[in-house]
């Protein structure tokens, strides 16, 4: 066992983990953060996407020990004060999901995309969520949701500036 100290969704944790424990299993099974799901288990589908020190990663392809000293944000940590994150709201309003299984990862990947490119074209959105598979929607409403969130988030950022 190896001891890790990690911040997850704003709270600090100190835990013993086996080096082989994947970050997604640590989040779900040790911390109970079951909002992050396991999809394909082969690093393809992106359902388990979280932010590690602010960047999107597939948490099935990171060891929990590698998060030692780092900050992890999951789908459970992005709403503030009971208010959905603008990206969550946009997925809701634009029907960017059907079964919802890809949604946690899709939202985390989309937030990462807008951080690097606040006003993406449709093509750039599709490239930005290339690592996240949705087998229901055909992506059309997902792209619309990201576009709505981009509009909301950049106007909020503008108001704050």
């Amino acid at each position: 066992m190896t001891q890790i100290n990690v911040r997850v969704d704003g709270a600090s944790y100190s835990d013993d983990v086996e080096p082989r424990t994947l970050l997604v299993h640590y989040l779900r099974e040790q911390l109970g953060k079951v909002g992050t799901v396991v999809g394909c288990d082969t690093s393809n589908c992106g359902a388990c996407t979280v932010h590690l020190d602010g960047e999107s990663v597939k948490s099935c392809t990171v060891l929990a020990v590698q998060a030692d000293g780092s900050e992890v944000t999951t789908i459970e940590g992005i709403a503030e004060g009971g208010e959905l994150h603008p990206m969550q709201k946009a997925f809701h309003e634009k029907h960017g999901l059907q079964c919802g299984y890809c949604t946690p990862g899709m939202i985390m990947a989309s937030i990462d995309l807008l951080k690097n490119n606040p006003n993406p074209s449709e093509h750039e959105i599709r490239e930005g969520i290339e690592g996240n598979l949705c087998r229901c929607t055909g992506y059309v409403n997902i792209v619309r949701a990201v576009q709505q969130a981009a509009g909301k988030m950049s106007s909020t950022a503008g108001a704050q500036a």
Binding site: P19, D41, Q66, E130, G131
Partner: protein
């Protein structure tokens, strides 16, 4: 799926890493970004005794210039490459290929050196390194350094010149500045897929003629290959559709690509010719 148990070392310097590799027993795996190794371990296709994780070895990360060369640290992530101003100026072929690697989340973790040391024939960076005549700087047990040219680095399927106990430190590539045109032309069928075939082309033009041509082929054999016949046909030729088309028709000469569920060997050879034509036309502005 969970990997088999292993001992884990997380060094912070090259010296510590070499010691951890030496002390790790008979079956040590060096982990760079882990984006290929962790999946393989999860599937239990690899079950190393020790994993030496390089993610905290800061000295291996970053791009610098040294005279006419760019020196790329092995732990420079794909995302680092895409944001690096020196790469943007002198390493556009590397940037074009890197952009096509997997997806953004994988590019945040995956590294330049890791992708080269993994040496997957369908990986995008080996053919680029070969086309650029990259030099691989390697540290051995005890810290001894040696340098291996790309032509000798890629030995076979998933096999490189790296010996047991050795560590890839950095990769030196020539700066491609004024006069060079480049293109990485990749063929695959679905998002985030590996190359069925891809072509890396860098061409230097001088007064309407081609002065130098470097063409690397991805997934046309167990290692990356140079399209030597095409390169020879291009050098000295005028920049015209006719000469480029004739040269590209020789791109698959001497290759023995594999047949698999994505493509038969003869289709791969067809792709190599077509993609070489596209890549060279784009590189020369035709």
């Amino acid at each position: 799926m969970i990997p088999a148990s292993f001992a884990y070392a997380r060094p912070t310097t090259v010296d510590e890493a070499l010691q951890a590799i030496a002390a790790g027993g008979d079956d040590v795996k060096i982990m760079a970004g882990g984006q290929s190794l962790i999946p393989v371990m999860r599937l239990r296709l690899a079950a190393p005794e020790t994993v030496v994780d390089l993610t905290k070895v800061a000295e291996l990360r970053g791009v610098r210039e040294d005279g006419d060369s760019l020196v790329i640290g092995a732990m420079t992530t794909h995302t680092d490459i895409l944001r690096d101003p020196l790469i943007a100026q002198y390493g556009k072929l590397i940037a074009e290929a890197t952009e096509t690697v997997a997806d953004p989340a994988v590019r945040h973790r995956g590294t330049f050196g890791g992708a080269l040391a993994h040496a997957d024939p369908a990986g995008d960076l080996p053919a680029v390194a070969l086309a650029l005549d990259a030099e691989f700087v390697i540290a051995g047990p005890g810290g001894a350094r040696r340098s291996v040219p790309a032509s000798a680095f890629f030995v076979d399927y998933l096999t490189t010149a790296l010996d047991e106990g050795e560590l890839l430190l950095e990769v030196r590539v020539p700066k491609l500045g004024e006069g060079w045109g480049v293109r990485y032309e990749k063929f695959n069928r679905v998002a985030q897929a590996w190359s069925i075939v891809a072509v890396a082309a860098a061409v230097r033009m001088e007064g309407g003629r081609i002065a130098e041509a470097r063409i690397g082929l991805t997934n046309m054999g167990s290692t990356p290959l140079r399209a030597t016949a095409t390169e020879q046909a291009l050098v000295g030729a005028d920049v015209s559709l006719e000469t480029v088309t004739a040269a590209a028709a020789q791109a698959a000469e001497g290759t023995e690509p594999s047949s698999d569920l994505n493509a038969q060997a003869d289709y791969r050879q067809h792709l190599a010719r077509v993609l070489t034509g596209r890549a060279v036309r784009a590189a020369t502005g035709l």
